[in-house]
């Protein structure tokens, strides 16, 4: 039986798709059979970030509507073994997602995979609610700013009350915080909330802190999950997060300003 993991945030543009791709690729590299499912119907971003957009023939909606089988729709990643993508449809709207349909597809995927990573759309509408509904675990992607934290808080309330686990009275969805686009410099200037601030407000476990990094943009333009850019700061931070997700303890990195060079020490004060 697969673990169903939703990557969600409430607020848009905080790094959910970047995170889904990175965590999915990381889990697959660690040997777990992993499938990434794009719930952002109408937008279709995940396949771009994964660099497989030209190989999409059938998508999630086709499978829900039984116009294609899962085998026809699943795209195998060319770089990482054990990694598959189920793309969203660009031409349909969110109503094409049905609860029964989603459940059927996730159940079928559960037989073959260890992890099902659901990349949620922004907001708390139907697509986002369905991405959350069947989850066993949630990665809450949050940027260190007030509106993002507020939306994450809202999403945590929904996870605690409006998921299959809540409805069945099962143990709650495991919730972990991934703080992304973190800039120690801007935290120091008081322009961003610190890790401690966000942890205090949301009061859930911290899976990782991903620094604001040019490497993310470069990787997504190249259609490569940033975790495969092994030398990059964001790539390493995602590697740490995957290791923690799998139960390993690792210290958090990239939280402090880099040590200033001689020039900085002389003139920066």
């Amino acid at each position: 039986m697969a673990k169903i993991v939703v990557v969600t945030s409430g607020k848009g543009g905080v790094g959910k798709t970047t995170t889904s791709a990175a965590i999915g690729a990381g889990l697959a590299k660690a040997g777990h059979r992993t499938v990434l499912v794009d719930f952002d119907v109408g937008l279709r971003n995940l396949d771009l970030i994964m660099g497989c957009e030209r190989r999409v023939v059938y998508d999630f909606i086709n499978v829900i509507h039984e116009e294609a089988s899962l085998n026809q729709a699943l795209i195998r990643d060319k770089r990482v073994d054990n990694l598959f993508i189920l793309a969203a449809s660009q031409t349909r709207d969110k109503d094409a997602l049905t609860e029964d349909g989603v459940e059927r597809v996730l159940t079928e995927l559960s037989r073959d995979f260890d992890y099902i990573i659901c990349d949620s759309p922004a907001g708390i509408e139907r697509g986002a609610l369905l991405a959350m509904y069947f989850a066993d675990e949630a990665i809450i992607v949050t940027n260190p700013e007030v509106s993002s934290v507020r939306d994450s808080d809202r999403v945590l309330g929904i996870l605690a009350s409006k998921t299959r686990r809540a409805a069945n009275g099962e143990p709650p969805v495991r919730e972990q915080l991934l703080l992304t686009r973190y800039s120690p410099l801007r935290v120091q200037k008081g322009e961003m909330l610190s890790v401690e601030d966000v942890k205090e407000i949301l009061a859930i476990d911290l899976l990782g802190v991903i620094p604001e990094s040019q490497a993310v943009l470069n990787a997504s333009n190249a259609g490569v999950p940033v975790i495969l850019e092994e030398e990059s700061d964001a790539g390493q931070a995602y590697q740490d997060a995957v290791a923690r997700f799998l139960g390993e303890e690792r210290p958090h990195r990239f939280l402090q300003l880099e040590k200033k060079g001689l020039f900085g020490r002389l003139f920066g004060g």
Partner: protein
């Protein structure tokens, strides 16, 4: 996911209580009231637009203003208030309100009546412990967008109430974490209800409908442990 697939229910009764603005009428003359309203509306037109109000007629209960209640309601509507009901007054007032399609709210003094009436904590502490149920204890954080209402008793929240969340109780509210959202105690008329919290960052607090919003709070109390009680017409917020 409830409601995603199933047929949508067409009606739902929710135990939601709202804070409503009370407009106390202190003069029995419609002309005087109209003039004063115009002046107020001019000062802050946006604030009053479509503002639901309850007319407290206690101070003019002895006058025959009730005869003109429909006219008074019309006058408010013309100024874009939304009169929802009256509070106070005798039988004449109640009949006039019903005829004018306005609700009748219990007067301040005998509000909350019947079996739901709780005694003030200070009056009879021992009896109170017996008289009320244990209340409601919430161990999870109350997140943005969530609302929790402890009907008929106290509410104890073991963790934080986030900004954008709302907690309500007929009795006291105790929050053993930060209060970042809204807390409304004594929502069904208990003027002795209090709010306690470990870190005060509320958006709004209210006791029996008398409310205060964050701009009005003393800066020195931000983040502090406070208790809030009703003192006459206003809220008394002080450090614990």
């Amino acid at each position: 996911m409830a409601g995603a697939e199933a047929v949508k229910p067409v009606l739902e009764l929710k135990g939601r209580m709202m804070t409503l603005t009370v407009l106390r009428l202190l003069d029995p003359s419609v002309e005087v009231l109209a003039r004063e309203l115009d002046r107020r509306v001019q000062e802050a037109p946006e604030f009053f637009r479509f503002l639901p109000v309850i007319l407290d007629v206690e101070a003019v209960a002895e006058s025959d203003l009730y005869l003109d209640l429909p006219g008074l309601a019309g006058l408010l509507q013309a100024r874009q208030f939304v009169p929802v009901g009256i509070r106070g007054g005798g039988e004449d007032w109640r009949e006039a309100a019903t005829a004018a399609g306005l609700a009748v709210f219990p007067a301040e003094r005998d509000s909350g009546g019947g079996e739901n009436r709780r005694r003030a904590a200070t009056e009879e502490p021992a009896a109170r412990a017996v008289a009320t149920e244990a209340g409601m204890v919430v161990t999870q954080p109350v997140r943005s967008g969530q609302q929790i209402y402890a009907r008929g008793g106290d509410l104890v929240v073991m963790s934080a109430v986030s900004p954008g969340a709302e907690v309500l109780a007929d009795g006291h509210i105790h929050i053993y974490g930060s209060l970042g959202g809204r807390a409304l105690a004594g929502v069904r008329g208990d003027t002795s209800a209090r709010i306690f919290c470990q870190a005060f960052r509320a958006e709004l607090v209210s006791i029996n409908g008398t409310y205060s919003v964050s701009e009005q709070f003393e800066e020195a109390l931000r983040g502090e442990a406070v208790q809030i009680a009703l003192n006459g017409d206003s809220l008394d917020i002080r450090a614990l």
